[in-house]
Amino acid sequence: MELYELGLRDLQDKLNREEVSIREIIESVLKRIHEVDDKVKAFITLDEENALKKAAGLSSKESRKGQIVGLPFALKDVFCTRGLRTTCASRMLENYVPIYDATAVSRLNAEQGILIGKLNMDEFAMGSSTELSAFFPTRNPWDLERVPGGSSGGCAAAVAAGEVPVALGSDTGGSIRQPASFCGVVGFKPSYGRVSRWGVIAYSSSMDQAGVIARKVEDCALIMNIIAGHDPLDATSANVEVSDYTSFLQPNIRGMKIAYPTECFQQGMDEAVKNLVLNALKKYEELGAIIEEVSLPHGEYALPAYYIIGPAEASANLACYDGVRFGLRDYEADNVLDMYCNSRSAGFGDEVKRRIMLGTHVLSSGYYKNYYLKAMKVRRLIKNDFDQVFKNFDLIVTPTTPTTAFKLGAELDDFLTLYGNDIFTVPVNMAGLPAISIPCGFSDGLPVGMQIIGQTFDEGRVLKAAYAFEQNTTYHNIKPSLGGEQR
């Protein structure tokens, strides 16, 4: 196996045994990127020079103190990085260079991880295919004619293609889990408030949550140990004790109670996807878990409510892009209103504009009560549904998405279908719960993901169940062909 194919823990072992140098690891990853990224198009910005410089700085043993010394990682381009441009895949921020690191990023830096670069995404994290990047679409390593999912599609594709072992993504309605599912990798979204949002460019502040995409569950646990925990700079960051997530990496799940909601195995489901997730549930049963069917009756209202709350918050969050202090600006305009209009018209793509308009509309006087407030009530009902189930169960399992990865361009004009892709992931964000997507099989050569949902701040049990499944299956060992022969 090449170094770029290894996970963080395997690389760590090799480093500890002094079989490889940090420089070799970074070079292997960079070489891989140069080989395949022309096809995958996962990176917006590569920080090769700094990565090598950092690797050189860690050559002596005395300099190594962190938890992920010398290990490469990449970031969805929604995380602000000091001195390194942060675009959110938008023309608006095409040349924006922050003067600060997001808290999650500074924590990874403090543990001496090495940032490789910034990954593609749907513009401002609005989308499910990464086709809505203002720069270029990213491709699915399993079939280059298909999308990698989104909005953290660059993360999932890069990790699947072996360009980087782990990447931080953000998930507002499925943006980590859905692309992880489409690309056959692990995508972990912690509870709302678990990871600081400070320095993560906002889409929908009440649902945005940073998380991890990796090839192995254990690497998610390792990264979570670093990025999770209270941040005084984020008032919504939870001041709740953080466990050692690696302690949950044990395959014994005997007696664990797992629910699967009727509603998630009916409507518009791809039969193959459905059967693979049902098989996965059988696997859990074999491993000693107790499996029962339950109901989440308000799930059908989740999407409409999500597409009110998300855009409402976004309409305000994205109002700061006015061309006054940073970002794209129309210097030709001769009054301030024209400057606003021209800058924003040129800076935002169609989907971003659509959601800003939607959000502006639902907050307008006369509509606020019937849309925004009603959506907030739905949100409460959805949370109640989950609370009911969690009275009797440890975890809930659903498919991550109703289908496998779709073709590039297929749903671009049909945004309602595109929105439907998030049907199983959105309720989790509305309730603020932790959830993971892990590979559970293939349909026509495309990966299928299973979603495991836990109770608020019970990340440990989610990781444990995911790890147990991974240890007892081999899906994660199959690598994508990148358009060539599958291995």
Binding site: W198, A235, A312, A316, C320, T360
Partner: protein, 482 residues
């Protein structure tokens, strides 16, 4: 004003709260710094930044609420008020809509000795915006510059009930509100620096009518005087419109200080829809009762209490008490004078008279005054002792105000000691009566007024240094004796 109509006024006051740092970041709140030197990515609205509530702001807002007899909310919430303007970096202002920190308070104003209670609907926390700087004026300037130093300064917006019925009441409310906020130590209340700002809601209605008339909101009232004048102007405009059968519209107007008129800014139809919604970045603020009580226990003496003390302890007229409690510094000056001098009313007269006059003329605050309270007290004692006359005292005071010198020194330097020595005075009186035989005749024939003229002549002859009481007595004796 036309007596058939009644003006109804409600005020919205923005007071800047006195904190070290801004409401949602740790930038300094100091006034007058170079443009854009007191900003950070947070208050400048950069991507990915989040607000964190400064607890000191909540504490001070509670303090203000208690001083204004408000109920303090158990849970309050921040909302986003959305609008685009270059001085508002996030393009939304973080404010409070449905769950403000303070509600249902009141304050009392004093009108010619009669108390009137003015309701306070609510007081809520919010952040200030920055400001635009232009070359010359806004229309001719080829550019706008943005200074964000003021962005994120903590404000308390205090909204009154429409309980005021005249410009005088509105002014009294503003003065009282200012004095309460000053006494509570929650704001510097400097209108000229913008740390106290006022908008007025004005309507008029025929006397006796219950429902309110069409209301206009007047902005840009930067002084007590502007507030009074704007209300008077606006009330007159409303009444004339009603009398002429013209239709008034609900609108926002601005006070033009130069022309002393109000001008239309925007009508209700043009009013912006702020699309308020709860700010998801700021969890609801729980305010424990224990915390409120702790703060209540630290409340200093407030103007009402101080006024009672002045009336009860010193038998001062209520009017004096109101003036002396306009600012805590003024009251402290009074209290300090009384530590060195016995007669409260005399101190009060001098403070409300000469001292206030000189402060106003020089546009000074009491804290800038060079006369120490002990020095003023000493000067008053010198009058009582007969060393100087009341008239001389005025010029001594002037010199004290200008130079800060001790009164004894001034008297010595200018040779201003009062002449009370009878033999000296009798000599002068004899001269005066000899030179004014006609007037002496008048007096003797019953014209009492003539005495005043003769006293004046004696004073003139002594360059005002004669002790007038003694001159009076000696003159009478002298005129009787002959």
């Amino acid at each position: 004003m036309n007596e058939d109509y009644e003006v109804v006024v409600g005020l919205e006051v923005h007071a800047e709260l006195k904190t070290q740092s801004k409401i949602f970041c740790s930038c300094s709140t100091a006034f007058g710094a170079e443009p854009n030197t007191q900003i950070c990515p947070g208050c400048a609205g950069f991507p990915g930044m989040l607000p964190v509530l400064n607890r000191q702001v909540v504490e001070i807002a509670i303090m203000a609420g208690l001083a204004l007899n408000c109920e303090i909310a158990e849970i309050c919430l921040f909302d986003r008020k959305n609008y685009f303007y270059p001085d508002l970096p996030r393009a939304y202002q973080i404010s409070q809509l449905d769950l403000p920190i303070c509600q249902k308070g009141y304050l009392e104003i004093d009108l010619d000795g009669k108390k009137k209670r003015i309701g306070i609907t609510r007081a809520h926390m919010e952040e200030d915006a920055g400001k635009l700087v232009h070359q010359g004026n806004i229309t001719s300037s080829p550019f706008s510059l943005v200074d964000l130093n003021r962005c994120g300064m903590p404000l308390l917006e205090i909204v009154s009930e429409p309980d005021m019925r005249s410009s005088q009441e509105a002014r009294a409310y503003m003065e009282k509100l200012r004095s309460i906020l000053l006494f509570a130590g929650v704001s510097n209340c400097k209108m000229e620096e913008g740390s106290l700002r006022c908008d007025a809601n004005i309507s008029v209605r025929p006397r006796g009518q219950k429902e309110l008339g069409i209301r206009t909101e007047i902005k840009n009232l930067n002084s007590f005087r502007a507030l009074e004048r704007a209300i008077e102007y606006e009330a007159k405009r409303h009444i004339e419109a009603i009398e002429d059968g013209e239709k008034l519209i609900q609108e926002t107007r601005t006070w033009d200080e130069e022309k002393q008129i109000t001008l239309s800014m925007r009508s209700k139809e043009e009013a912006e829809d702020y699309r308020y919604f709860p700010d998801p970045n700021l969890p609801p603020v729980k305010i424990e009762r224990e915390w409120v009580e702790k703060i209540r226990a630290t409340l200093p003496e407030l103007p009402d209490q101080a006024q009672l003390r002045l009336v009860d302890n010193y038998s001062l007229p209520p009017y004096d008490a109101v003036i002396l409690t306009l600012t805590p510094e003024f009251l402290a000056y009074f209290d300090n004078c009384l530590a060195h001098y016995h007669d409260a009313k005399t101190v009060s007269n001098w403070m409300m008279g000469e001292l206030s006059k000189h402060l106003n003329q020089n546009n000074m605050e009491i804290n800038d005054c060079k006369i120490q309270p002990a020095a003023l007290a000493r000067m008053l004692s010198l009058i009582d002792e007969g060393t100087i006359s009341g008239k001389m005292a005025k010029s001594v005071f002037e010199e004290m105000f200008a130079s800060g010198k001790e009164p004894d020194l001034i008297i010595k330097e200018k040779g201003m000691v009062q002449i009370s020595d009878e033999s000296t005075l009798i000599k002068i009186i004899e001269e005066v009566t000899a030179n004014n035989a006609g007037v002496v005749e008048d007096y003797r024939s019953g014209k009492e007024k003539a005495l005043g003229f003769l006293v004046g002549q004696v004073m003139k002859a002594t360059r005002g240094q004669a002790n007038p009481a003694i001159v009076n007595k000696l003159l009478k004796d002298c005129l009787k004796g002959d």
